[in-house]
Symmetry: C2
Subunit: 181 residues, 2 copies
Amino acid sequence: MKEDIEIGYMDSDIVTLIEKFFKLPYVYTKSSCSGRIVAVDSPYPWSREGTIIFKVHRPIKLDELKDILSKKIVTRLWINSMGPIIHAVAKDFDSAFKIIQIARDAGFKHSGVLSVNEEGWVVELTTGVRANILAKVDDKVILKEEELDKICETINDVLLEGKKRLKMLEERLDAELKGLK
Amino acid sequence: MKEDIEIGYMDSDIVTLIEKFFKLPYVYTKSSCSGRIVAVDSPYPWSREGTIIFKVHRPIKLDELKDILSKKIVTRLWINSMGPIIHAVAKDFDSAFKIIQIARDAGFKHSGVLSVNEEGWVVELTTGVRANILAKVDDKVILKEEELDKICETINDVLLEGKKRLKMLEERLDAELKGLK
């Protein structure tokens, strides 16, 4: 994990949370995202079939938004502001639903078991915090220039709502770790 | 279920799919949505804390979009175009992951087990097909008037992508029912 952090695979906002997960005896994390803002040139907001033109794990500045809008795109431009997502492996049924319950209590309402394999019970902890703002169609900006500051604020508010829940999850994990001692 | 359909709780696009689920011996559905377009006056796109001002399970017309934009709102106006979501109860572990696999193969990539209770294994079958288009902030339209037709088309395209996956799921259930005979 340390190596992942150093080479920059992992976003820094989530490091302390992941360390807490690894202290729990019954679960560990696989891949995680603290929440991010991603601009994607794609027919649909999901990026699988599109081209990512911007990605950060922090709020954006108005100038960055303007810069994104100035880039040439081929289909539609979506600015996705997305909450945190954590994939973890729990050792058994009880552990899986325990960690799901902890996550739900912290605002990760869309958490569930994805699969069960030789490693354990794979859970996804996720919030439903997200916005996919349509920004360009056919390379034309569809947003009003004079409202861009408010739009920028909205994009950031969604991201920060996700980060808030990440903090809540961290606090729940602290309580859980305390109870184990 | 028939009663739900008659009194309008259920959207008609999903009726044949649900009937197919009920033919399977190891799973039945609880609540389902075929995908919808919802306009919500809310600080965030999720509607829990907001006011729903428009909701349909079909594509919208440009005039409807214009009408939505003309309504007075108090925070932000989001137009959410959302794919199908199905909550089902499977009788055991194997049935739950069987139906999840069938759903994933049909494009319901975000499916998983939500909980286990006395009824059985509660699964959520869902796609990741969605867009939450920001349309107004502080009661001001932030979308360009001259691009509304393309925006309307985009909203509908997202919805129809979800309906396509619903159709794919129906075909997979047909194949599964055939295999059981």
